[in-house]
Symmetry: D2
Subunit: 148 residues, 4 copies
């Protein structure tokens, strides 16, 4: 399926929203890619994001999976709308032992009221990339003013 590229306005709106998320800045997270129906967020390892073993904390994995899906949804909703996370489920499949954590969120099912997204979270260590978590998420389409 060929889809029109995102407008500059939409890209700017997403980047502006991301920039206003204090938590993303706290975690050292960056919005690395954004296209229609897909967004990726990456976090380099730092002391700020660890669990008790020095690996990435599961809470960081969930936070960037959630956020990546939110922006994937935001990339496809009509102007003036946003996707608000109603719920998600995440399976943490492997320890997030590495230097870089990358969450890729994708729209599985766009809808007028609900959007279903999927996230894959990868851990990179010494150049190798491994799937460490998968998430399935439901977002509710709301007016931008109430959500973004």
């Amino acid at each position: 399926m060929t889809t029109p590229p995102l407008s500059d306005e939409r890209i700017a709106a997403v980047r502006d929203s991301f920039g206003r998320q204090g938590l993303m800045s706290t975690l050292g997270a960056q919005l690395s890619t954004l296209s229609r129906g897909e967004a990726a967020i990456r976090v380099p390892l730092s002391e700020r994001v660890t669990q008790q073993h020095g690996f990435f904390h599961g809470g960081v994995i969930g936070a960037i999976a959630d956020t990546a899906c939110g922006y994937a949804a935001l990339s496809i909703v009509p102007e003036g709308k946003a996707g608000l996370t109603a719920e998600y489920k995440i399976n943490l499949m492997s320890p997030a032992d590495g230097e870089l954590l990358v969450a890729v969120g994708r729209v599985l099912k766009p809808g007028r009221t609900l959007i279903v997204c999927q996230a894959e979270v990868f851990i990179e260590k010494a150049g190798a990339r491994k799937l460490c978590a998968v998430a399935l998420m439901t977002l509710c389409v709301v007016d931008t003013l109430s959500a973004i």
Copy 2:
């Protein structure tokens, strides 16, 4: 059901583990209560933990729900064991608009291999407490050395 209180060693082990979680320190989170099968974590509002509206970020809600259940599980496993989060599902029911976020994790079903926990997350604003999220979580019982 009357249960014996937690041993001082177990309490110390949990507090030590919590203290080594970089993310909890980053978020300004505190382990506020701990008893057999239950743990609570609280986070005061700060710029470090917000989404784009200034409310608590959903990622923080998920992170402390996950961690509260992890320590609820740790409070009941045999010595030398820990509970490792295998997966969770969370419903974000209301905006986390307030000064303090509190996650209470409880063991629903203890098992030798798997532990099922439930978390309730409350938002406090001007003295009123409101349920803003619920989570259902599965933890895998593992040897401490590999998990904590």
Copy 3:
């Protein structure tokens, strides 16, 4: 909280809807109780509902948890509306080894667009009742004509 009882019309609408569900009849399921925000469904053991060991099949547990929450939601929505299951998560905590399976669905969070429900599923054997599964579910409020 004191709530007004369900109207006879609403009760009749729920029972009529339930009666038209071929699957519920196939499973031998009955809508046993219905009140505002809560519904219970029971299924006696028969060969129709077993897994390979002769216990209740997990699919039956999921089906009646889903349906109980659907009718719990239907009991609270405005006239002309219904709750359509968007998603659920279920933990199967114990083998459903017994003579009777009972799912109790309850509304946790009523909303105009989304309703969050919780289900507990109990297995009864020789007079003892045991919690064997818990579910957390999101329903979307839709016009009745499109959903019921």
Copy 4:
């Protein structure tokens, strides 16, 4: 990745287990394909499996998604072991309006203690196939005698 084909003994064990599931027979379900890490189950429309509109009931969708993942897991565990569903989450994305329902379960992450599977459920109508549900599931590896 090239994987060795399933042994005749394993295929026979799966088909025997499936044949002993009363619910699958009740629903008119068939195990249509089975390979290493993947299993598919199909159910033709009949009055036995409907909701109140005459579409496939969500409970049937969940039941065959669960079962397909269970056999996908069973196809990869060591002899003497089985995969027992610990929990799953399912998103019902479109009405299951059609003549045939097909669930395809796949192993995402094999492990010694836990196996993570994913299911896609398709509805076929007048020759067209549409994705109507996705599920994410955790199975616990147990001794066969206790589970199958």
